[in-house]
Amino acid sequence: MTQMSLAPPEARRLSNAYQNWYRFSRNPTAVIGAAIVVVCILAALLAPFITPYPEHVGAVVNFRARHQPPSLTFWFGTDNVGRDIFTRTIYGMRISLLLAFVVLGTAVPIGTILGLLAGYFGGWTEAIIMRITDIALALPPLVMALAVAAVLSPDLVNSLLAIAALWWTWHTRLIYAITKQIRTQEFIEAAETLGASKFHILFREILPNCVSAIAVKTSLDCGFVILVGASLSFLGLGIQPPTPDLGTMVAQGAGFLPDFWWESVLPGLAILFVALGFNLLGDGLRDLFDVQEVR
């Protein structure tokens, strides 16, 4: 509050949207991150229209053009059966983003709801939810995915399940901590004395105060999930050929290093690019929201 009283009153009258936009545009990390993410998502959505050889996604074989270095015809070169790596990288990004959205689309809501319940109700609810969370947190997702793949079959759906089954725990921890802190604030007490329902307090009063934390965590997680997915594919537990996946491409290209470096390095850089984009965006959002928390 003392900080705030220094700000001139005129500045307070500017619209929220303008203030947010101003801070966002002054935050290079967030802007670059957002740009990368937007480029990746657009590229993934428009893959059939922007890639030069969409047919190379399948089991196409063109031995005359195999192991071509990057050129104007093949921007990222070609692989060991003569398919265009640029095309396959863009399609691979599609799979990576899909993976991230499916995993986080299930893990984030589950984790958030459990965190809210544990943080608000306390007692037995808290004890049960948080102990399960602690156990799940102790298992590394990659190991869990390996185990699931070993028991079931090594394919995309099983890997997704394995990752999602562990990923919610991080969100539960985060939301639990925030809820515990918000629960003691006066406006929650005010809502209770006003006769508001538990549902109202959880989802209308507490949840909006968690949104910024969820946004930051989710965008940082996108990068990590993509990395884990690529790692699984690299180990042969994820997407199966011929479907193009960045991890699989790196694994296959690795056999031809160092002569045909582009076959693994360029898809690898693509992984880095996407993951970096989400991480920068997440960090940028955190800076942005932190400023807001001060007010």
Binding site: E189, T193, L194, S197, N209
Partner: protein
Amino acid sequence: MLELKNLCKAFPIRNAFGRKTGALQAVDNVSMTIAPGDIYGLAGESGSGKSTIARMIMGLETPDSGEILIDGRSIHDRSDGVAHGRRVQMVFQNPGSSLNPRRTVGQSVAVPLDAHGFPRSKRPARVATLLDMVQLPAAFAERYPHELSGGQKQRVAIARALAVEPKLLVLDEPTSALDVSVQAKVMDLLTDLGRQMGLTYLFISHDLSLMRNFAREVSVLYRGGIVESGTSDTVFGHPSHDYTRLLIASVPVISAEEAALRPVIPLIDGELPTPEQLIALRQAADRQA
């Protein structure tokens, strides 16, 4: 309107291992009666138990023993089907933290309407009426708390408390976070609303000058117990208890007339005594006598 009978509440003191090692008697055998339409002041410093009393009246804490009656009916007796929140509401001390920063003013004011089944279609009109009652433009419903000044936020909190027309309002230091000129306007508003709607106020504060001018009946709390009560004029004009005298003597005042009204407190080692010292002195003197 409101009656407290022998109210007691203790909080356990726990050691580092969570084992109970003692108890803090936060409220100790407090009884009082507030007549309908009255403005009743509860004065006390931190640790006096005034907030615990407010929280028990609101149902946020359960008393260890004693009774809280509203209109002669225990607050735990819900047999007439009238929700507790329709009888009594509270205005919190800090409007900055009693409004959810992520919800608009309109959403906050609508919370009690929502909770007590007010028809959804009539809500925007009701919110506008409530904002008008506290002299805020209807357009404020779209704003977020951080876009409002402290006084405006407290007006919103008052509008929210009055949304389902309770007859009793607990005011917990409603203006202590506000500038003095804003405070005067909020007190004017509360007075006007009280007259128009026939409200009864329980006014909790440590600001004795404000209490002197606002409350008609006053009780002074010290360490969980009432040490003195009476009309505002009696308690402030002729304080009988040492603690009340010390409290009044401690108020910073702005005129000579007020300064003359303050009781003279004997200094100990050139310093004003603490309440404990003063009470110990009196007890020692009583033993002598």
